[in-house]
Subunit: 411 residues, 2 copies
Amino acid sequence: MLAITNIGELVLVPPGPVRGSSMGAIPCLEHVAVVIDNGLVAWIGAMNDLDAPADCEILDAFGGCVLPGLIDCHTHTVFAGAREAEFVKRIEGKPYAQIAEEGGGIRVTVEAVRNASCEELVELALPRLQRMLENGVTTVEIKSGYGLTVDDEFKMLRAIRKLADLQPIELAATYLAAHTTPREFADRPDDYLDAILSDTVLARIRDEGLAEFCDVFCERTAFDVERSRRVLMAAAKFGLRGKLHADQITQIGATGLAGEVGAISADHLETIDQGGIDALKQAGSIAVLLPACSWFLGVEQAPARQLIEADLPVAVATDYNPGSSMVESLPLAMTIACTQMRMTPTEVVVATTANAAAAINRHDRIGAIKVGLQADLTVLEAPNHARWLYEPGRNGIRATLKAGKLVHTSR
Amino acid sequence: MLAITNIGELVLVPPGPVRGSSMGAIPCLEHVAVVIDNGLVAWIGAMNDLDAPADCEILDAFGGCVLPGLIDCHTHTVFAGAREAEFVKRIEGKPYAQIAEEGGGIRVTVEAVRNASCEELVELALPRLQRMLENGVTTVEIKSGYGLTVDDEFKMLRAIRKLADLQPIELAATYLAAHTTPREFADRPDDYLDAILSDTVLARIRDEGLAEFCDVFCERTAFDVERSRRVLMAAAKFGLRGKLHADQITQIGATGLAGEVGAISADHLETIDQGGIDALKQAGSIAVLLPACSWFLGVEQAPARQLIEADLPVAVATDYNPGSSMVESLPLAMTIACTQMRMTPTEVVVATTANAAAAINRHDRIGAIKVGLQADLTVLEAPNHARWLYEPGRNGIRATLKAGKLVHTSR
């Protein structure tokens, strides 16, 4: 049994999904304590009413704010290589097509991942996950998608599974072999899809439990709507729930497809239109926004306010990846959502807890603070969550708990 | 004697000011070592040629990049109170005027600073400076300007002096009593200027060495060009060199005034026009850009590329302050300059070293890496400076040296 005492502000995020204007209206309790038993929240009440047994461990929050453990629901944390040369070229104004021609782009990461062993991928990702933990993150979704051969995609999924065993952050794996068509299949995208969507491959993923979700990059330069539909339908037959990289650069109807196939989430949405909004509403999909990506690329942000006004459940994630979002800090992505997308701090907290949990189908267990739910909690140094997001570039995490276990403290 | 060995990349920033296109063309040496003696850089050469005496201390850079110690040349690091409520209101779309009417704005900080003792101001600022040091910063300019009475402005300047003695970062103090007209002098700005610019006050600042610079907020809502001229001319008579908050919100000719009075720097410049650019060029002033401020406020950035193309020496700083830039991390401001202003990593390094040194009149001693200059150095974990700025939100500082002394190591 563990009691967190002297909590200055407890942000009582309810289980997700939380829609639209409800995201900004979350009750906050002051001067409270939380008791954790068997990994679950067992009691929430006023400090004065706390009646913990003598052998109860105490974690003093020193007046700090307590949130649900943060959830980064869209990342590419497993990768090899670095692409700062491309970062510089983009700043110099080179278009992505030219960067790719000059040997840059996703191909660089694919080469590096193919040349790395599963163990090397694990070694590279471990310190990244450690820093995420230090940023208050307790659950991370990680996609494959840099192998682009069946074997290399399996290598990535196995790396994710090993990582889950080696460190405290809970991981959710997504099969993203349909990230782009690899060079070996240039002009033969359907042949590539044949390879990665064969019954054998998908059955192995299911039988070995290597992924829960299947994602596809539905974009003019990647897979069109028809091919993306094929990807998600094939995966669904083997129990993998669908996700899409949708409406990032051009509007080709990707979000409409997300609605049609009942995707659990549609991610990016920088160019979403009214049809896409309607489709997501009907399907109940989570709208996952990636503010650090647009910020890193120096391009327009997704219309977060419009989505919230449309009563959608909005989530926010880092999109951590070596090409378009070398941002492993979810708190930094959260402040970018505040300053560049005009989401309020409260909305952003909901977007990275309850709604992020819903985007990876864990909202019945995590992403909320409620008696009976898992005690994944982030303890801040700041006395309230707005103060915390108002101080970007500073690590303001005092402690992180996963299933009631203290997995990180700042000192 | 100390040798830094195994430097992967030594960014040979020359003494500032560095103008225009020269900012992006800085030589970088690979596989080198640096020998420091008596606080100065004594030798730079290939690792293989290093011939250090047996009693020479060794700092292994492990292949990391070495830069001049970072200089934050525009900050308001001494303050009390917090303004996250205003941050939320701004996100909700409230204009500053309304925020001020509802009790927010600079008035909140002025109240808190007036109510704090000098010792309290010092206690509040110390951990901020400690975190700046952990971010590779070795020199910081700090302004007064939240006291707005002669006594409270002196209290702030004395706090800055005490801070200089209590921690390793070198501080430069700026008298910014002309930050805004305080309520007691509403509609009587000239009477306020009489008070803060009296010969007695300015002579005391000079005689006690409490400030090197005088700054004025030249803006429609603060001091017009005529009054700003008066401020800077009065201060100049007592040896304080001029700085301006210029062209931030509206274009009223502030940068023109900077040129006219030969200000050492003109800061902000979001609305600078061609006349302002010409004036700065003629006067040799440093153009200090504050990308974290515009980012924090969610407004347009200053036209960095236009200023660089005009052959101006451009500096970059955090503008760290509780209202418009709660960003104490200079590296974060640097990546914002890359992604939102399209400055290259090399330009941004020059802007926060050589040119930042020039903006606070220290370019003969610091801000560069050259035999004979002071050994203020920042050692990165990343193998090159582009890699470092490409990974925002992660502290990538391995070690920081001030005048040859190791003042911070990451582990």
